[in-house]
Amino acid sequence: MNNLLRANFFRLKRDNMFYSCLFTTLGCSIGFMILWCLENAEKGALTDLDGFYFRPSAGMGFFYAMFTCMFLSVEYSEGTIRNKLAVGHTRREVYLSSFLTVFPASLSIAVAWLIGGLAGVPFLGFLTIGFGGTLLCVAIIVGYTAAFSAINTFIGLLNDRRSATVITISVWLMLALVSGFFESALHEPETITKAIVSFGEEAPSVITEPNPYYISGIQREVYEFAVDLLPTGQSSLLQNISIERPVRMLLCSAGVTAVFTLGGLRLFARKDLK
């Protein structure tokens, strides 16, 4: 498998799509950070870097999906996957080497985002969450990047070019919508306050009552688990550094990575290639 990994990295070094994703991420990260800083400076709302640094997290899945489907689909569209199998590499080796190339490549796209975010340092100073907090955030990023890579490799190697691109982007979008739904449901307040103005009274009377949309009990636990499980949910939580269950999030990432990699290996072993 080492030979396949070396060959994949040899190709990665020459892959324009990879560099496009890398530099677009870097550019967006720098651009948005400066824009936010200037915008909030005008409003006098500049506080610390923490509130802005991880904001692009939710969009990272899109860049990962774009890069992975384009990188892997070349193997099918240009037929080069045949060169690997016809000279005796096993399907297991081909699948694992693809994942092990896509994962660090996606991580380097994440690194480009994190480096770009440092453009906010002159305005806001360094992160206030400390070394431990920063390390935890980085661990979450590594975790959900692995999960995204496993999902994208699964789709990229089990579909041909056109459908893989459409499916990978659609899956990312769908996961983002699903985790967004769960997250917004979880953000519903437990109680709502109503101000009632009656005729003849000078001051409105204020009443507090339970929010019918508030989710509690097992349903809340299920929703929380879903957000922690989905890589899009994790990346969304990281936006505001609202990481309440880091161990569970890391375990979920490991689980998603393992399930998709093992499932992909099994299906890829049976796939009829052309």
Partner: protein, 304 residues
């Protein structure tokens, strides 16, 4: 007899039917094996199975004696190179980069030999030109060069002349002959360009509807092809009367043309025709072509 590739009753089912239906084939060491069949006969399916791109539904094959379901098959495949359907090359890379990539895949310790390979396929002067800017013939030759990386002694080429111009076809033919003669590489070529194949192949396998109809060496095929005299005359009626009188086998091709078998004496034949009042306009020896042999074997309509 040493066989590089042997298949035994191979069956491959797809959703829409059987692509291979009990195919048995033998590729001898050192041969250029012409694998002949119409579109959809199962040629590419067999190649996909041998290359490990698909698994047979039933049946087995051995490559260098290693059964397809054994662990040794992956080692056996390292001695093989293949160009399946279209050349498998990275279009965004140069010819040299494509070969370097394949050297990495094979785990070869150095890039020695890349220059030689490029010279062999006459792509040594392509420099920084990307493969996407190559002509079809150049891509085909680069595909063969990629398949030759790692010095295989068995080469599988699926329709190597497809889409090539006449010069490209000649170049590929010369390359295959050179590889077979100079490097003793056994070659399996699938093709339906029979005229081209007849200039190369030392053995033939004729496949139809996923079954092997006949395997035959080029020598045996030549011997079994009937030779005849093809006559063009003023009128076929006195000709047939004269041929019947002489007791010769013949087949009438048109009102003015007939093939006469059994190697008759040309002097006796022309004299008999002269006496019958039939003018001979043209006479020449005619060999049954690979194409007509194939058509006789598998049946079908020939457009002439």
């Amino acid at each position: 007899m040493e066989y590089i590739l042997e298949t035994n009753n191979l069956i491959k089912h797809y959703k829409n039917g059987k692509a291979l239906n009990g195919l048995t084939l033998h590729v001898e060491k050192g041969a250029i094996y012409g694998f002949v069949g119409r579109n959809g006969a199962g040629k590419t399916t067999l190649i996909r199975l041998v290359c490990g791109l698909q698994e047979p539904t039933e049946g087995t094959f051995t490559l260098y004696g290693s059964p397809n379901r054994s662990r040794e098959i992956t080692k056996a495949r390292r001695r093989m190179g293949a160009v399946v359907e279209t050349p498998s090359i990275y279009l965004s890379m140069t010819a040299e980069e494509n070969l370097k990539q394949q050297y990495q895949i094979l785990g070869l310790p150095s890039y020695d030999g890349i220059k030689e390979l490029l010279e062999l396929v006459r792509l040594q002067n392509t420099g920084k030109k990307k493969a996407r800017d190559f002509s079809l013939g150049m891509r085909q030759r680069l595909g063969i060069a990629v398949a030759l990386a790692g010095d295989p002694d068995f080469l599988i080429l699926d329709e190597p002349a497809n889409g090539l111009d006449p010069q490209g076809i000649v170049e590929i033919r010369e390359l295959i002959l050179r590889l077979n003669k100079e490097r003793q590489i056994t070659v399996l070529i699938s093709s339906h360009i029979l005229d081209e194949l007849s200039r190369l192949a030392t053995h033939y396998g004729f496949i139809d509807n996923g079954r092997m109809v006949k395997e035959i060496s080029a020598g045996a095929l030549e011997a079994s092809c009937r030779k005849c005299l093809r006559l063009t005359v003023s009128d076929a009626r006195p000709l047939t009367a004269a041929l019947d009188k002489m007791g010769l086998q013949y087949s009438v091709r048109s009102d003015t043309e007939a093939d006469v078998y059994d190697a008759p004496s040309v002097t006796e034949l022309t004299l008999a025709l002269h006496n019958a009042g039939c003018e001979v306009k043209n006479i020449h020896e005619h060999d049954e072509s690979l194409e007509s042999y194939y058509m006789n074997l598998v049946g079908g309509v020939r457009d002439e």
